[in-house]
Symmetry: C3
């Protein structure tokens, strides 16, 4: 399926700048786009990828400096891009609505309108599934759990009892929400379980990756804020609070009771110990081990994590250390000679 | 639901010290407790949290030094606390007993008394589920696997064939027990699979977190000892032996054939290479990479992991390295001057 | 079950060297083997384990230097070993063929001959399962996904729509193939989802561990090459390409669009950032953080990862840094003295 940029703009809205005859065959993000595809720019921080992207055209708010590629100009590049996606990619989320005959839905559960429940999904008593939400095959929704409107719960997800999930939340396969926190008390040599009697609240527009685990609170609530996006295999401990619009990349671990401020980025495989605060807008580099609070707006890296430019300088200097050791030995020898000469 | 400390002590046992009129509305661990909640102290190592806990009252064995909060004194603070939990939190584990009509239980499986098997759970031939155990929805119990008494297997757990699980074991959703170990032999460029024909033994009172994986032995047994508590997303390789009462925190990885002694703590995201021994009572700090045996009772950190106080000193000194490099250059200059003066 | 080495050689082929009367009771890999077991040698890089293995006999291509243990000599030690495995270990993969009555198979799915579909497995429309393949209990195969011949898909695996899986692929429980990539664009403070419209291709003879996640491409294909073996809890991002015969050990993470060359080893808990190339035959040490391309045939370690021998030297020297700081202070003092004497 190919279409000229001119024709595409006619279908999705926006004004062509440059050669409207270029043929477009698909859509992609700016870093993944290949020749023939159209991408978009909604944030100036992505401008730098214009140099390397292989996209044949770009949807943007204005003409980026020096850009020679054909463009579609739009007041809201992201929404125009989504229209392009809808044109090129038939909706794959057209899962059937209604309750599959092999689903197991408690008579005491409440289903909204236009809900779809897949084969072998299990919905327990007291659960409530709001309008337009899909619970796909093999997923489990525990007692008294509430799933908001227009959510998409992929196959084989587990959401235990008394969890609250907001509207438009996407949860990928294998994720476990509401498992017991890791709470034990030592009694001599023996660990005694502290019952984990709190819950989990996932706010609206959150996305949760495959095989993520989010533990329920010891008491109170483990919370993931509006718009936060969590990648695969992330671990979120009990009583953690993550605020709005954070990016939590794959295999990150967050210890119990830690609070992550708004707009924070935790890069892949980073770990944040328990009972800490990571301030609004902070960035934690990949594989960092955070053992102290992180100030708002700062970037930290390394183990134990420190301010990034210092950590980087220290690590760079480490490479010079073997030579430095030799040099100091040589200086010591020269000092010995000077001291000998003095006598 | 609120109750005075005095009344609570009457219900759960123990003697009030201090103001018995303080109102209690819930229970929690000492680090997570909030105002109005009661917590407990069973181990002197947690005394330090008394300073920062927001709990309104504490169950303890004796009056901690300097403590002014109201207390309930008890000979066994943990058991008294569990009674408080039972008072405040209605038992959420009252899952139905019997076999759900949508469960799939082989005719050649053996079920004890008072067992509960959830919807879409699958129990294969030769499996044996002992008295009082719950296998919740969607979980899989393989051929000839034996699950002990009063176990709680949460939804969507996979326990493959020939695994032995002791009494009172808790396994959280998404965990996989008995998957093949990572065993291959190189044949030119090609990896050839070495069949993994051993099993897994999980001893009594173990707890296993969500999405943990524990591989079956190549031959022989992968073993998790009595009372060991494993957090989410931990990886335990084939032929690993973990002894009694260990704490294995989230996202830890343990390489094949490694032996972890009694009472060891492996903190979050630590990795232990294969074919090693970590001695009794040792502590491995978070994110450490253990490449050699760890002596009993020691604490190690860093990559490669070394004795903790040395590793910490080395890392602290690293921060001073950029300045040290400058200083050595300056000293070299001064030595050159001295040498020049000599001539 | 015990048998003499002589008799065993008669059954599985090969020629005995040494004492054929030694009794053999089982099989194992060279590092895991215990007394009474027979193991094999197919790669000279494993010769070093001959010193420490407890195996009572070895299948090998020729007599290793200095080896005094009884041997079975064979032109293809691996195949001879597999025959020994078949003798000692009854085939545990004799899962029933046909469609279990509690499986849910779309009428628009296509099943080959001798296929087995377990209880509560769900096969969606347009899916195709080729001859001899087993899809065990609770697994999900999405729309238009194709699974090749003689594959073994363990219980509770999720393979989403439009994925292609080659012949003889083994996928362990809890693995998720084809989940959405982590693709978002910033629109002010808000992350907007970039639809992930590509697919995943798993080539022949791949093995995928428990609870692994492999994301579908943003557009195009995420690919795992022929013969590559992936351990548990590994994360593979969207548009990653892994070439043939790689070893990806547990808890590794690979960022989006990265390319891993043929025969690469990524050791446990290593992380590779997105948009990089790791050259053919390279080795990335455990827990390394790779932030730049890795040249073919090199070994890297540390964070950020560098050439291994340099990184090791730098880390070794770090342990000497506290002493070096003291020594430099002492030299400075001695220089001051020399300078003072001069005046």
């Amino acid at each position: 399926m190919e279409i000229s940029l001119e024709e595409l703009a006619g279908l999705i809205g926006g004004k062509v700048a440059g050669d409207g005859s270029v043929m477009i065959s698909g859509v992609s993000g700016i870093r993944e786009a290949r020749k023939g595809e159209i991408t978009f720019l909604a944030d100036p921080r992505y401008d730098k990828f214009l140099e390397t992207t292989q996209a044949s055209a770009v949807i943007a708010g204005s003409i980026p400096e020096g850009e020679t590629r054909p463009l579609i100009l739009s007041d809201n590049p992201y929404l125009t891009f989504i229209k392009a996606v809808e044109y090129f990619v038939p909706d794959k989320n057209n899962y059937p609505r209604g309750v599959h005959p092999a689903a197991v839905v408690s008579e005491e559960a409440t289903l909204g309108e236009n809900v779809g429940i897949g084969a072998c999904a299990v919905i327990e008593e007291g659960a409530r599934i709001d309008n337009g939400t899909l619970i796909l095959a093999g997923s489990f929704i525990g007692k008294d759990t509430r799933i908001g409107e227009n959510c998409l719960i992929y196959p084989n997800v587990t959401i235990r009892e008394e969890v609250e999930v907001g509207d438009r939340v996407i949860i990928h396969s294998g994720a476990v929400i509401g498992s017991d926190g890791y709470g034990f008390a030592k009694d001599g040599d023996v660990y005694r379980k502290i019952p984990q009697v709190g819950n989990v609240v996932i706010e609206a527009d959150v996305e949760i990756g495959a095989n993520v685990t989010i533990d329920r609170a010891a008491s109170g609530t483990t919370r993931v804020g509006c718009g936060t996006k969590i990648d695969n295999l992330v671990m979120i401990g009990h009583n953690v609070v993550i605020r709005e619009n954070c990016a939590v990349v794959a295999q990150v671990g967050i210890g119990g009771s830690t609070e992550i401020g708004r707009g924070v980025t935790l890069a892949g495989q980073a770990g944040v110990a328990g009972h800490l605060k990571v301030g609004e807008g902070a960035v934690v580099a990949g594989q960092s081990g955070v053992l102290r609070d992180v100030a708002p707006g700062t970037m930290v890296s390394g183990y134990p994590a420190r301010e990034h430019s210092q950590a980087r300088k220290a690590f760079a200097s480490l490479q010079r250390l073997p030579d430095l050791i030799k040099k100091v030995a040589e200086l010591a020898e020269r000092i010995r000679n000077l001291e000998g000469d003095e006598k």
